[in-house]
């Protein structure tokens, strides 16, 4: 087993929740809650002692910068103090175009953050409004400028396709806007309407692209990015040489990680667990015994079968695929014949067509 760890820090606050977001996050809280939350995070970080090298740190949300540049840096400092970060440790900050300024970005860079993942989602102002994003294209462009000026070479951009009212043409523009910004990494997600979201509640009024169009968008996006030297290295991730997300690859490699903060998940010593999904509960628990290293809320202890199945499930997300043993080959002929998968160097790898329906294939193989 790989010895290195990843660290995830969850900041659940947003100025406003986007219309498609089903994840645990809160609209902006008052200063006191955010200060208490910062302290709770640091307490949880301090409760963990390990000598294992940490090769990536990821601040996700929510919108992490909402916590404040000082608070975020203090959390990063606690991680640096408590863990052995490798020299080339990838330290990512998720941000939205409206949540960053050049001075803040410089501070983040100086504190050790070396990767920014920015949710552009679309370059079309109408689509941004539909999604409930709080910026327009020009704001996005100036944010990108600031990120570059602050010295972040390693950048990622999120794109969503299948947005209500989106057209092939507008998607193409969005993709090209991202490419033109020089971002070496792009995550592209197909919009899914999740329960407990405004989109879900208004699903009957949404004018979603039909499935033919949505599929065309997917292949178009793949084609454009390929043409611009991005490799489709994971179901929804595209990167230029040397800019794959180390943090995410660690997940797909079944690597272990520790999650700090409310609703954050961990995978450690063969167990998967998660922290309580309630900011106030999390804060109050952090002052008790909750954070003794053995006292996480255990979700699931992975059996050998679990591990094997997860390796398939996660491995098939990437262009490295999984080892093609005889049993697998016997089961997978129809996927290969149908163009959903291929065998390369003794490995079973999903194609672009296969990624689209990966659940069916994975469910059949596990």
């Amino acid at each position: 087993m790989k010895n290195n760890l990843s660290v995830y820090v969850h900041i659940p606050f947003c100025v406003r929740k986007c219309n498609y977001c089903a994840f645990y996050s809160l609209p902006l809280c008052d200063e006191r809650v955010m200060r208490d939350y910062t302290e709770a995070l640091i307490r949880q970080i301090n409760s963990i002692k390990t000598e294992r090298p940490v090769t990536s740190v990821y601040f996700g949300g929510g919108t992490p910068p909402v916590l404040g540049v000082g608070a975020l840096i203090s959390v990063l400092e606690a991680i640096k103090a408590g863990f052995r970060l490798s020299d080339d440790c990838e330290i990512t900050l998720e941000a939205n175009p409206e949540s960053v300024s050049l001075p803040d970005l410089k501070d983040y860079r100086n504190a050790g953050f070396n990767r920014i993942s920015m949710g552009m989602q679309s370059s079309n102002d109408r689509e941004l409004a539909i999604l409930g994003r709080r910026y327009d294209l020009s704001r996005y462009k100036s944010a990108v400028r600031a990120v570059i000026d602050a010295g972040f070479e390693n950048r990622s951009t999120d794109i969503i396709f299948g947005i209500p009212e989106q057209t092939i043409e507008s998607l193409e523009k969005s993709v090209m806007t991202a490419v033109d910004s020089g971002t070496p990494h792009i995550s592209a997600y197909s919009l899914s309407i999740e329960k407990n979201t405004p989109f879900y509640n208004n699903r009957d009024t949404l004018i979603l692209p039909d499935e033919d169009t949505e599929e065309e968008m997917y292949y178009l996006l793949c084609d454009i990015l390929k043409k611009h030297d991005y490799s489709h290295y994971e179901i929804s991730s595209f990167a230029r040489e040397g800019f794959q997300s180390r943090h995410n690859l660690h997940y797909w490699d079944c690597g272990e990680y520790i999650g700090f903060g409310t609703a954050a998940h961990s995978y450690c010593k063969g167990k998967r667990f998660s922290n309580i999904a309630d900011v106030n509960e999390y804060i109050s628990l952090s002052t008790g015994d909750y954070f003794s290293p053995t006292d996480f809320h255990v979700q699931r202890y992975l059996s050998d079968t679990d591990k094997r199945e997860e390796a398939i499930m996660l491995g098939l997300r990437t262009d490295r695929g999984i080892r093609a043993d005889d049993e697998l080959l016997a089961k997978s002929k129809k996927y290969i014949d149908g163009g959903f998968a291929k065998i390369e160097n003794g490995r079973f790898i999903l194609t672009e067509k296969g990624y689209r329906v990966s659940n069916i294939i994975i469910a059949a193989l596990i």
Binding site: H10, S274, F340
Partner: protein, 614 residues
């Protein structure tokens, strides 16, 4: 044993004049079980606490459906106003059309019947059918007006209906509330005064009627009998006159509320049981006559009919690995239900299962539910079929109960299907809609009469094939639950029948084939392929769904290929959620049958059985 020795009646308790054998006739929910409970409570046969569950319906399922599936009987004593202690035998009757024959045998065991009429609803088709049956059996009928405690009760209406529709006086009918225990004694006194005591001579050769039986793991089959003539005692060798089987009696007795109460003998007029280490319930068919092997009665009781399954269906375990469990379960059910037939069957689509024969649709549903509940089995059943009579070219007459074996149209000289005479009682407001339904099901109108200003009784000739799917459900939904149905078989009639095959991905799925009248084939085919299209989940490849008659495609739909099924986002390292979703997907696959490269969920097989749901 010499005849001379058989100068019996030594039992000082036995007095045929003090015996009353009766049953209760009622429509579902009109309070049969509740009245039985109250009677048992009143006569101290049970304490109120013991009545927590209705005594006569032993099976959980029966209680839920408010029906009694197997007849039961109970013996108890009643101290009447005349100062005498009476022996009462209450013989319960199954309350559904599928069990008409069992009802008739139970009634044969009685001299009288309580006819319960719900004062809020009046007479229903089933009540009527059973009441006529009781009259045909020369039973003394005592109308009992129930539910008088309800505000909507109309006692006069109920009495009037009894007099006008059934034609028996109802003037001094007891008016009761079984629920509240009001006027129960009136009913008991009526039984004493109005129902005649049994006739019969304990000194003549034994003649006893089998009206029910069940299998007991220790005693073997426990046979419920009504002794009409003579006497049966331990160590007698008895003969079942129809099956010819002979047995040595091990035990005789009466049926008390909770157990069997041993007696040395049962005499003419009495109701009770005997055991004789009988291994198979098939040897003790309902309606058979029991007599002594060495001193037989000269003639068996009339009216014996072998129970004949009318409806057939394939039953398969949803999980093929549970075939053995299904087999064991069917064998266990068969121990107590000789009318349930089953034999192994193989389907290309469903694997190993059983072809099962049932008395009717309710019987089928009850068996399926018991298999699922009591044996924890997940089942896939195929469309029910009746028995068709075909004249096949170069082959002659054959009977077919499995659509798979139905030949293609050009091989059939003539085809005939079973017909029933259906009697439907409905509030007048729904007559139009119900006639439409019957018409739609190829019904031939016989007649209609108004029972009163508000209710009509309709008679139709209907192909059994048309009512086995969901006719009863459709009837209920068209009448807001008020219409009631009864039917009797009246024979076979020629019909233009064809087999409709369903092809999925170009291959015939045998389990989905069914027989249909050719005029209705196209409409049925369209609905089926649409239903399948909606119930087969999209898969990696496009799947054509077709319906065909003898190789000619008459309807087609397509299950489009799955375009997108992917979990892209991975919030905060939440692998567990992804895993759970995939596990759910995988779990769902277990309930699918792989057919070629297509997976067909259980629901799809079930959906085609419920075609006519709106």
């Amino acid at each position: 044993m010499h005849d001379a020795e058989r100068i019996y009646v030594t039992d000082s308790m036995y007095d045929i004049k003090k015996i009353r054998n009766f049953s209760i006739i009622a429509h579902i929910d009109h309070g049969k079980s509740t009245l039985a409970d109250r009677i048992l409570e009143y006569t101290k046969a049970v304490t109120p606490r013991e009545v927590s569950a209705q005594m006569l319906d032993n099976m959980e399922l029966e209680r839920e459906r408010g029906i009694t599936i197997k007849a039961r009987a109970v013996h108890f004593n009643y101290l009447a106003d005349d100062g005498n202690l009476y022996d009462f035998n209450l013989i319960d009757t199954p309350g559904h059309v599928d069990f008409g024959y069992e009802v008739s045998r139970s009634l044969t065991a009685c001299e009288g019947a309580l006819l319960i009429v719900d004062a809020t609803q009046g007479i229903q088709a089933q009540t009527l059918a059973n009441a006529y049956m009781a009259i045909d059996n020369d039973l003394e009928i005592i109308p009992v007006i129930n539910k008088i405690d309800l505000a909507s009760a109309d006692i006069e209406m109920a009495k009037r209906e009894v007099e006008e529709i059934i034609g028996i006086p109802a003037d001094d009918a007891p008016c009761v509330s079984a629920k509240l225990g009001i006027n129960i004694r009136d009913v008991l006194e009526k039984i004493v005064t109005d129902i005649p005591c049994p006739k019969g001579d304990a000194n003549t050769p034994l003649k006893a009627l089998v009206f029910d039986s069940y299998y007991d793991a220790y005693k073997g089959v426990v046979v419920y009998i009504r002794v009409l003539e003579g006497c049966i005692r331990v160590d007698d060798t008895v003969r079942m006159m129809h099956t010819g089987a002979e047995f040595d009696v091990v035990e005789t007795g009466v049926l008390s509320t909770f157990n069997l109460q041993q007696r040395d003998a049962l005499y003419a007029g009495e109701v009770g049981y005997f055991t004789a280490s009988i291994k198979s319930i098939a040897d003790t068919e309902v309606g058979d006559t029991v007599t002594l092997a060495n001193r037989p009665t000269d003639k068996a009781l009339p009216g014996f009919k072998k129970s004949v399954p009318m409806v057939f269906s394939g039953i398969y375990p949803a999980d093929g690995a549970r075939y053995g469990d299904l087999k064991d379960a069917l064998e266990k059910l068969h121990l107590n239900d000789a009318s349930l037939l089953f034999e192994p069957e193989t389907s290309a689509a469903l694997g190993f299962g059983f072809r099962c024969g049932f008395l009717g649709l309710l019987h089928m549903e009850v068996i399926e539910e018991r298999l699922e509940r009591e044996f924890n089995l997940d089942l896939i059943t195929t469309a029910p079929s009746v028995i068709y009579e075909l004249d096949i070219k170069n082959k002659g007459i054959v009977f077919i109960d499995n659509p798979t074996n139905f030949p293609s149209p050009d091989e059939i000289e003539t085809a005939a299907e079973p017909i029933v005479k259906a009697s439907i009682i409905t509030p007048a407001a729904y007559v139009g809609s119900i006639m439409e339904l019957c018409q739609d099901r190829r019904g031939i109108f016989i007649d209609m009469k108004y029972i009163d200003t508000d209710r009509a009784e309709l008679h139709y000739e209907l192909p059994l094939n048309e009512i086995i799917y969901d006719f009863f459900d459709a009837l209920k939904s068209r009448s807001k639950g008020y219409a009631s149905l009864d039917y009797e078989h009246i024979g076979y009639k020629p019909s233009k029948l064809v087999k409709l095959d369903i092809l999925i991905n170009g291959e015939v799925v045998d389990a989905l084939s069914f027989i249909v009248h050719s005029d209705k084939a196209y409409a049925r085919a369209r609905r089926i392929v649409e239903k399948l299209r909606d119930n087969i989940p999209r898969q990696l490849f496009e799947i054509p769904v077709q319906a065909a008659i003898g190789g000619k495609i008459i309807a087609r739909e397509t299950v489009k290929a799955m375009r997108k099924d992917v979990l892209a986002k991975c919030y905060g390292g939440d692998i567990t959620r992804k895993k759970k979703l995939l596990e759910k997907q995988k779990e769902g696959k277990k309930r699918m049958r792989t057919f070629g490269s297509v997976e067909i969920p259980q629901e799809a097989f079930m959906a085609v059985l419920k075609l006519d749901e709106e």
